[in-house]
Amino acid sequence: MLTPTKNYIDYEALIQEDPEYGFRINHHLYKDEEIFQQEMERIFYKGWVYIGHETEIPNTNDFVVRVMGQRPVILSRGEDDKIRVFENKCRHRGNTVCQEQRGNSKFFRCAYHGWMYSNQGELIDITHASIYGDRLPTEDMNLLEAPRLGFHRGFIFASLAAEGQPFMEYLGRAADYIDRYCDLAPEREIFLTAGRHGITYDGNWKMQLENLTDAYHAEYTHATALAAFAANSSSEGDAEFTDRGDLEDPLSTQRDLGGGHAVLDSFAINRSQGDKLRFTGSTGTLSEEIVGKIAEREGSREKAVWLTHGGGSHITVFPNLMILWDAVRTIQPVSLYKSTIYYHPAQLKGASQEINTARIMSHQTGFGPAGFLAPDDMEMFERTQLGTVSDTDPWVYLNRGLSDQYVSKDDFGVDTSPPNIWVKPPNGVFGGITNRLCRITLNRLPT
């Protein structure tokens, strides 16, 4: 059997942490085809990857198609109501067996030669099977199924590796932040039934991953969006985000949650602005309706106010899931130089339609192909990618704030003001993610 030869990549040499330069990484991490292939194999095909949400396939026989790394897959709720992830690939000639983005079907039939599979993955019909005589493979020819799935609060993850890190261990402390986000809904569940839209950029997938915990860029890249939001806000507190100025302000905290997961935590800044907060919130969650319903649920208005101030946190779950404000988004690496970001508005179960519509509206004002924020980010990613062409100085700096990191005694405390949390001020966590990424790629995962 042919075994592809893997070029050795010295990741340690591509990441430098020293007193002179702080933390810097080599831009080859964004432009090397071998590195990209290793990321696909070791991160997207061996590790845990977010696939979709249970509310996208609520009914028996529902399915959606997704791409895992670069592999087409089907997320299916079978006739037995069990959720599975299959590679969208006929075992005969390798054609995709499902051509629709979503739907409801008991079967997936390959149109090329008519082979048919149940939505539980079983090969149930080989057309003209007798012609094969005794030459049919004796092994299982069912659809290739992801051997492991992980579920948390409706979020579905999959791993194509039969063995490896247990799911909850992988999710780690990111689970707490997902819980906080879901708990913003009166009935503690979000639902992703509003569909999705996608925006593409000509740049490496890690650009978006790193950007989500980069509070540094907001007031520059998003100057026009922040001005538009501030100028049209209905309360005086809304402009606070733009006026914050000092980015070392501990109100903006970024935490390394381990495992490549990170959060740009909005709790402190939200709480500091009390009821005036809108912009850094999650739409509707500070409304009387939601606070009231959560107060009833929790039996405490104080607790409801505290919980709802978690809105707006930017949660990054390595490698491809991000949850912030009014939407769940995923990063889709398309190729080394091309990526797509998909956004699914997250509606709150138990909230009025008015609140959920406001969330959809708020989301698309900011994000998607014509949002106020996303297109400017995409532009920056493309410019960053262009910068990688010039190798005269291949180093890029992600060292801002590293000198001010500290570890908390209780990083899940109610009071998020220092020194009670482990804080990586703006861009510190940047390094955390990239560092983690490269270390994973550095043969730390089971091969």
Partner: protein
């Protein structure tokens, strides 16, 4: 009512020119007070329950244009060169009121010029305008523009469609 075909067509061509030339003030003046501007993500979607590429009420249109006028909207720095053909214009009386509903097809070529990288992108789709007259002037009450790839993966869309 007798449909003033020439007037309506001229309105759409004028709108196309303003959009091509990024004439935001002039374009905004073509809207009535109750304007709704919508780019759906799917042909059969409901803007109240489904995500859209863009959905703006009259106030939202003004806010959006305010950002587009800025030189700091980096997705349009420098601004795209845009050229569009509007055709297949079909005008029918509105089911209610005195206005008209106009169906048309658009085909847009966008040229994104950057210092070192340029891109040419084709956009296409169908528009539905609801127009009514105010003081003898036709104005847009509603515009829905459905891109052929509305539910696909799109590059940043930074000009008017």
């Amino acid at each position: 009512m007798e449909i003033p075909k020439d007037e309506i067509e001229a309105f759409l061509y004028r709108e196309a020119r303003f959009m091509d030339q990024h004439k935001f003030v002039e374009w905004e003046a073509m809207w009535s007070d109750r304007g709704v501007y919508w780019l759906p993500c799917a042909h059969d979607s409901d803007p109240m329950t489904d995500v859209s590429i863009l959905y703006a009420d009259r106030a939202g249109i003004t806010i959006r244009l305010g950002r587009m006028k800025s030189r700091n909207m980096y997705a349009q720095d420098p601004r795209s060169v845009v050229s569009r053909i509007v055709g297949n214009i079909e005008i029918v009386p509105a089911e209610q009121g005195e206005g008209v509903v106009v169906y048309s097809t658009f085909n847009i070529t966008e040229f994104k010029r950057r210092a070192h990288v340029t891109k040419q992108i084709t956009w296409a789709g169908h528009s539905e305008h609801h127009l009514s007259q105010v003081d003898g002037q036709w104005l847009m009450d509603y515009k829905k523009a459905t891109l052929v790839n509305s539910d696909g993966e799109l590059p940043a869309l930074g000009f008017l469609v």
